[in-house]
Amino acid sequence: MMAPAVVLLLGWMLVPLVLTLWFSFVKFLPMRGDSIAKGLDWVGFENYVRFFSSSSFWPSVQITVLMVGGVLAICIIFGVLFALLLDQPMWGQGIVRILVIAPFFVMPTVSALVWKNMMMDPVNGLFAHLWRFFGAEPVVWLQDASLSSIIFIVSWQWLPFATLILLTAIQSLDSEQLEASEMDGAHPLQRFAYIVLPHMGRAITIVTLIMTIFLLSIFAEIFVTTGGAFGTRTLTFLIFQRVIDSQNIGLGSAGGVYAIILANIIAIFLMRIVGKNLDQ
């Protein structure tokens, strides 16, 4: 009974993977007349060497790490703060919670377009108006602070997810533990540091793991806002440019394999942390 499902799943995963691997070892320039039908020339590791030694490679890895790290830092720090706030009893709790989750339901392309045109536009954007109101020169966000702006936009989308998971973690904390620490003489800040934060450790690692995997492949937000210019070319975006702009499928595929390796290194690293945290 399992066989069809396994075959389907394997095919689903393996076909693109095997194709990528194959393309990464051949010369494949469709605009120059190469095609699978005519047969492709085997070039060994040439694509890998070219992709790796290209002057864009290391900067793109660095930008990827900066972007993922930045978004993670913002989402975890503010996620914890928001979760603490939402955990407080307050008026209209249900509505506030739904509002907080809302950004998560907006498609990445749409949210990037909204931020780009309505908020960050240097002439008509809300921020520009705000800056002018205070007599300041509007900032050309996506040009002068491009990486930070994209980190901000992506964080805005992912913060609800982080907040929600962390909120459920806070709510699962046994109130007697907090009371015990209160009797033991811990101040609110100490209660947070010694009781609440360690309790959330597991949820924080899980959020980090899930988000990292998704954030490594950020694309729409970059495509819509800067198109990879102004120091926002991540590894994913570089591969896209190699395949689509330069029409070099072999080179792009080699980049894809690098990306797979990078993602796996990070995943193994994170899994070990999660494993450690889940052990207790």
Partner: protein, 334 residues
């Protein structure tokens, strides 16, 4: 030190008053047990003393000074929770040291006190484990350890044994009693189990619906229950409570006789019935007696292993001098 005084203390949650005005003095060094049925406000009362709940009106004095508006940490009391409330990510050592660390005590003194507590409570073998790796009884000991290192002026226990199995419960009961004998610190202990109350307490406070029904030593409550509720609550098995004609013979609305104060006689007795279920405990046997014409089933104790069978006729004589009489309001008639 460790005298706790409640003066006209009340507590309401929203519109429902859980504790009507209540006065109570817990003397220094006393082992006081709050006992009562589930939901009668025992935990609430304890939490009011601890400062974990704010009182709605009245005053709390600890060692003669008003503690009504003091935060829990400043009251000098230590609490052991029903769920133990250990910190799961800290080792046993860190758990016990936590209150001392919060008090910014220096490390040498912390180590000294933690080691002393570990010694007293037999925690040494698992001092570096996490709470998750301990059994229920061991966790209970850690929770007590965390309370004693602070050297509080009083300990508060909220049903600390209710999560343990029966055998362990008896053992821990003894350990806590021992601890009290040695430390001589005031202890306030909440339980719904009257056996725990009877075996451990210097002073029992019987509560019902937030009202104190009686305060007294275990034997006072056993010998002279102030009303029908206390009479029925204290003692195991329960006192036989009889109303109606038979009670009227004794000029009372209700009469009560404990199972151990009814003698089994040969032939006809003052009361007669048939034997129902027999509970053989070895040292004692408890018989349920039906068809006595008294309205209620009677429970009778016979010492040793008595050979009465289900359905046998039995004659009973209650001991008149051990009989309790109550009026229509349920109060004891002297």
């Amino acid at each position: 030190m460790g005298q706790i005084e409640l003066k006209q203390v009340t507590k309401s949650f929203g519109n429902t008053q859980v504790i009507p005005p209540l006065d109570l003095t817990i003397h220094e060094g006393e082992f006081t047990v709050f006992v009562g049925p589930s939901g009668c406000g025992k935990s609430t009362l304890l939490r009011l003393i601890a400062g974990l709940e704010d009182i709605s009106s009245g005053h709390i004095e600890i060692d003669g000074t008003d503690a009504t508006s003091l935060v829990p940490a400043k009251r000098g009391l230590a609490m052991v929770f029903q769920s133990y409330a250990l910190y799961p990510h800290m080792s046993v050592r860190k758990n016990i040291a936590f209150p001392l660390k919060m008090a910014k005590m220096d490390q040498a003194e912390i180590d000294k006190r933690v080691n002393a507590a570990a010694e007293v409570l037999n925690l040494k073998d698992y001092i570096d484990r996490r709470p998750g790796q301990l059994s229920g009884g061991q966790r209970q000991r850690v929770a007590i350890g965390r309370a004693i290192v602070r050297e509080p002026s009083a300990f508060l226990f909220d049903e600390p044994l209710s999560n343990l199995d029966a055998a362990l419960r008896v053992g821990m009961r003894l350990e806590i009693s021992e601890l009290h004998k040695r430390l001589k610190t005031t202890m306030v202990y909440v339980t719904h189990d009257q056996v725990e109350a009877m075996t451990m307490a210097d002073k029992i406070v019987v509560l019902q619906a937030g009202v104190i029904e009686q305060i007294g030593s275990p034997l006072e409550l056993y010998r002279t229950p102030r009303n029908v509720f206390v009479a029925g609550f204290i003692g195991s098995p329960k006192m036989n409570l009889i109303t109606g004609e038979e009670a009227a013979k004794y000029d009372a609305h209700t009469i009560g006789v404990r199972p151990e104060h009814i003698d089994v006689v040969d032939g006809e007795g003052e009361w007669n019935g048939t034997v129902g279920v027999a509970e053989h405990l070895g040292s004692d046997t408890f018989f349920h007696i039906h068809n006595t014409g008294l309205g209620e089933m009677l429970t009778v104790r016979a010492i040793g292993d008595v050979s009465l069978k289900h359905g046998d006729k039995i004659g009973l004589n209650p001991r008149k001098n051990e009989m309790h009489r109550f009026d229509a309001a349920g109060l004891r008639i002297a």
